[in-house]
Symmetry: C2
Subunit: 201 residues, 2 copies
């Protein structure tokens, strides 16, 4: 192990870097060495950026997004359609949808999905606030942009029932062939859905 040759400070840096998703023990060592070599242009700025992020980042009390202001940039954005709420599992899904530019509406981050196996129950999710927001006058549609997994779809059904008494339309993402996808590699469920939900040319 490297602890015998490098000081404990370097070893600690490697161990912490190895806990980042996408970095294993080996790539964490490489990243640590890269940081040490690029001290002025990377190690210092990254350390500062982390400290600043830690000081300023807050969770939006309205939608659950992370930002440096509460309400977050999206909740304060007057150019977005306030009649549509896009429900996502995680902030990463919000970012993905924003990158796609597919929808210009407000978001609601659940902070997870229902999962009996992992012990995630409704009270662990940001659901009370969702019902409150969906009840506000002016909200016409709730798009459930949840993952097409068992837990994601279970959560989608649960939310659909939860919002059943409200005068809002609850919709979900279409299933189908991914753009650029080859039929040969797709599972039967996706192909069936793509046929069932076919659109006119």
């Amino acid at each position: 192990m490297a602890q015998h040759v490098a000081g404990p400070e370097i070893e600690r840096l490697i161990q912490l870097l190895a806990r980042l998703p996408g970095l294993g023990p080996r790539s964490a060592r490489r990243a640590a060495l890269h940081l040490i070599k690029k001290r002025d242009t990377l190690l210092n700025p990254l350390s500062d950026a982390m400290r600043i992020a830690n000081e300023r980042i807050v969770v939006c009390s309205t939608c659950g997004n992370v930002d440096t202001s509460d309400p977050c940039t999206i909740c304060r954005d007057g150019k977005r359609d306030p009649s549509i709420l896009v429900v996502v599992e995680d902030v990463s899904d919000l970012w993905a949808l924003e990158r796609s530019g597919a929808v210009n509406a407000k978001y609601h981050v659940l902070g997870g999905v229902l999962s009996p196996l992992d012990g995630v129950r409704p009270e662990h999710l940001n659901l009370d606030r969702l019902v409150a927001r969906a009840s506000e006058p002016g909200v016409a549609e709730v798009i459930l942009a949840l993952n097409a997994t068992v837990d994601g779809q279970t959560t989608a059904h649960y939310i659909t029932e939860l919002l059943g008494h409200l005068p809002v339309k609850v919709t979900k993402l279409a299933h189908g062939v991914p753009v650029g996808g080859e039929l040969d590699y797709l599972d039967e469920g996706t192909l069936s859905a793509a046929i069932r939900q076919r659109t006119s040319f």
Copy 2:
């Protein structure tokens, strides 16, 4: 892009993380989000570890290793054979050899290899100090543990000539079949070397 939805502080964190080897733009976003979620257990400690590393890490003026002391832990280690100098390109190679436990000697980190294409000339490498160390009484062998690349082998030849006038034995790593390697997947050069340098069973 995420800069429209996340604050500039988060965007800067993502950009800096993306410059780590092994992380691309997508995994940097995931890493940033992971850091933000694990603020107390990861973001804070990592930021501190980086600051401490930056304050304390020095390059060993004897061998070129990075450590928090000069001379480094290895150069100060009295249990190592001082008659052998292992020459490596980079600190990462030193770490790799230490992990293998293959040799218990002193090191010398060149800080690169000669490369006409990249404009790396002898004066850019830690060579003067190598000649001085190899000239010290008590040094009997210099092991050139350089990569088996064109530049690595060019550098090995250059160093062999550079040390030619000294009463030290200059050796290099053996070529051969990697442990666990399958012959079918090895190149001709490796196979030829493995046959030429075969050992008795």
